[in-house]
Amino acid sequence: MSDSVITVSELTRRFGATTALASVSLSMPRGAVYGLVGANGAGKTTLIKHVLGLLRPESGSVRVFGLDPVADPVAVLSRIGYLSEENDVPGWMRIDELIRYSRAFYPAWDDAYAEELRRTFALDPAAKIKNLSKGQKARAGLLIALAYRPELLVLDEPSSGLDPIVRRDILGAVIRTIADEGRTVLFSSHLLDEVEQVADHVTMINEGKIVLSATLAVIKESHRVGDRVPSLDEIFVARVGTSAGSTPET
């Protein structure tokens, strides 16, 4: 089996006149916490959708665990845990129904871990998803993404809806835990300080193109000015010319 969990080669995708991804290539090593950063509309979600097989490459190729996610969605999706930016878990489901439904798809589902997560996230099993707060919905989504200990965890803007304390503690702990166990995390965000806390590899994407991709340590070292190590946000501004967190949605 390849050491790369995700291999993207010359991936291009257009939506009408807009080029969402232009000849993107990247390779994601196993066991890494991989931060995908960029302004809103940079192409992060489009790239993640290709990884999940929800979009078909216009040109180029995507391989996840060495498989084509479009040709073999079951084999790929059963090994990925995913938390979406939109958090589209059906509102009519109760928490216990969501857990019961989700566990049927993953043979490796860990009931004890799921229950532990449910308690940690303070989710009432009888509560309907649509009645939960935004933060609770994100926690419910995180629960079903984690409870089968997926080989690859994909978090697309996971911080939306989580308050700062929970965001730092829960997300950091989860990502570190998974990375320590040799699992891989792909973490997309436009909040660079958040990425800086947890990622060990960073890929900056802007207008559908990768502008920088390396380990966080290498990136920081290469941008050092004298004794001062710049923040990821400063590096991003220097590379792209605008702050990722302050760019309006496009």
Partner: protein
């Protein structure tokens, strides 16, 4: 709509001539040409102006968009302006129609009260759907009952040939009343005042949770979990629609004088064709998918199988309700002896075995037709392409509009009837060939895309063939006569069993799932 009316007017002037009047009543039967698009547009307006397209009708909270509550305007304006715009739209839908009907079609239709009826109907729909309710689903029940009552009043007034002035007197006060209710509804929704009557129904809740305790069991497979998901999402739609409509239809059995065999059977016929008819309206909702479902680690074919299983359960539950309601209504209304007597007479003519077989065959055909209507739009809806879905709806409407006048023309023209009769074998052959070509194309695409295994493809084809043979056998047994050639029965059997559209559903889902 305006363009459509202009085209029709041009056809009338250029084709039929400016002086020939058009009658709405049979044998001309051209009313559908106007009524079908008018009704479709009116229903669309109802959905748009009540914000029904973006809200959750079954929810307790108001469907009035919450984002508008923050606008710096009074509640009276929030309720009033959409109502005013909506009423103006529906009234203006009727007024040009009526004017076109008067000239150049020379159809004498009333102008004012139908416009008022449309406006009142919309105003009450808005008021009742914007209201927050204490129980989920109560909105639909209250709105349907209230609008049905309004309709009933107008039908009674129409039946007694009430003058236009009387109709206006009945309808005009409805609009301010509806506005007051809408204002109250929006005010409650704006301050977040949603009653919760679920505690009142705690006994029911306890029963439901004890029933639901069985649901804490785990699913034996991902496919079963997905079938459960589909059932919870859309499976109850058709049974709910049937449960609302059929009892109302069967109430006709209780009306004094409706005790003769023709009337009783006519009422039963209406009740029995309700599930297939309702299935057409239930189908679009269940022919949808979501990104959440697309990310399930389940093959597209299995996702479709879950939908198909759900439609089978939905059909069976709907029919269980229809049969139960019909038997109970016949017994309570005292009309059961009329049915028993007529069935006994029928059996005397056909023989017991044949009689039972006829009843079972007709029943099976109705059940199958219901299921067919539920699944036949899967291949369109699951593509997720708006342009394809809207085009198919438009095409359906065009066919619906055209079929009335075409059939009417055929019935009145013996030369056309004769030509169709002579061409019938070729028409059937052409339709069968078209179906087989479409089926083969879908099978090749399924094979190439590896969405289905070879074994599943062969098993599916074998099932289809056996079903066609079985239907042909039954038709041969019932309807074989010198006047009905075997090719005719064979073609009917082939055309009746779904093939291409159902098989294309996995292709459609895969197309949408991996865009």
């Amino acid at each position: 709509m305006a363009g459509y009316l202009l085209v029709l007017a041009a056809i009338k002037l250029l084709g039929l001539g400016p002086v020939e009047p058009i009658r709405l009543a049979p044998p001309d039967g051209r009313a559908a040409v106007v009524i079908a698009p008018l009704s479709a547009t009116f229903m669309y307006f109802l959905a748009v102006f009540s914000f029904g397209l973006e809200g959750d009708l079954a929810a307790r909270r108001s469907i009035y968009p919450a984002r508008m509550f923050t606008l710096p305007v009074t509640t009276a304006a929030l309720a009033g302006w959409p109502m005013l715009y909506g009423m103006a739209a529906v009234a203006s839908l009727w007024l040009p129609t009526a004017l076109f009907a008067r000239w150049p079609w020379e159809i004498n239709v009333p102008v004012i009260w139908p416009a008022l009826l449309a406006a009142a109907f919309l105003a009450w729909t808005q008021a009742l759907t914007w209201m927050p309710y204490g129980l989920p689903g109560l909105r639909v029940i209250v709105t349907v009952l209230w609008l049905a009552a309004l309709d009933a009043i107008i039908i009674v007034a129409f039946h007694y040939k009430a003058r236009e002035l009387v109709m206006v007197a009945i309808l005009a006060p409805q609009i301010p009343l509806a506005y007051l209710v809408a204002w109250f509804a929006v005010a409650r929704a704006r301050r977040g005042d949603v009653s919760d009557w679920r505690a009142v129904a705690s006994g029911f809740s306890r029963t439901r949770s004890s029933v639901g305790s069985g649901t804490s069991r785990t699913f034996q497979s991902a496919s079963r979990a997905q079938t459960w998901f589909e059932w919870r999402r859309h499976g109850r739609t058709l049974p709910a629609m049937v449960a609302f409509v059929v009892p109302v239809e069967l109430l006709l059995l209780f009306i004094r004088g409706n005790d003769t065999a023709p009337i009783v059977f006519e009422i039963l016929f209406i009740a029995l064709i309700t599930p297939p008819f309702m299935a057409v309206f239930a189908a679009p909702a269940l022919s949808t998918s979501t990104p959440f479902v697309a990310r399930r680690p389940l093959a597209s074919a299995n996702l479709i199988a879950a939908k198909v299983k759900m439609t089978i359960w939905s059909t069976l539950v709907a029919w269980l309700l229809v049969v139960t309601f019909s038997v109970v209504a016949l017994m309570l209304s005292g009309r059961m002896p009329v049915v028993v007597e007529r069935v006994r007479a029928g059996i005397e003519v056909t023989g017991t075995l044949r009689g039972i077989a006829v009843v079972l065959f007709v029943f099976a055909a109705l059940v199958a037709s219901t299921w067919k209507h539920l699944v036949q739009s899967l291949c369109i809806g699951l593509t997720g392409r708006d342009w394809l879905i809207k085009s198919s709806v438009l095409l359906g409407l065009v066919v619906l509009i055209a079929v009335g006048p075409i059939v009417d023309g055929i019935i009145r023209n013996r030369a056309v009837q004769s030509a169709i009769w002579n061409l019938l074998p070729w028409i059937l052959v052409a339709l069968v060939c078209l179906k087989m070509i479409a089926g083969s194309w879908v099978a090749i695409r399924l094979y190439d895309s590896r969405l289905l295994s070879d074994r599943t493809l062969v098993a599916g084809a074998a099932c289809w063939f056996v079903t066609v043979l079985a239907i042909y056998g039954v038709l041969e047994w019932f309807a074989s006569s010198p006047l009905t050639p075997r090719y005719f029965l064979g073609a009917i059997a082939i055309l009746q069993v779904p093939l291409a559209r159902v098989s294309a559903a996995p292709l459609a889902l895969a197309w949408s799932r991996h865009r």
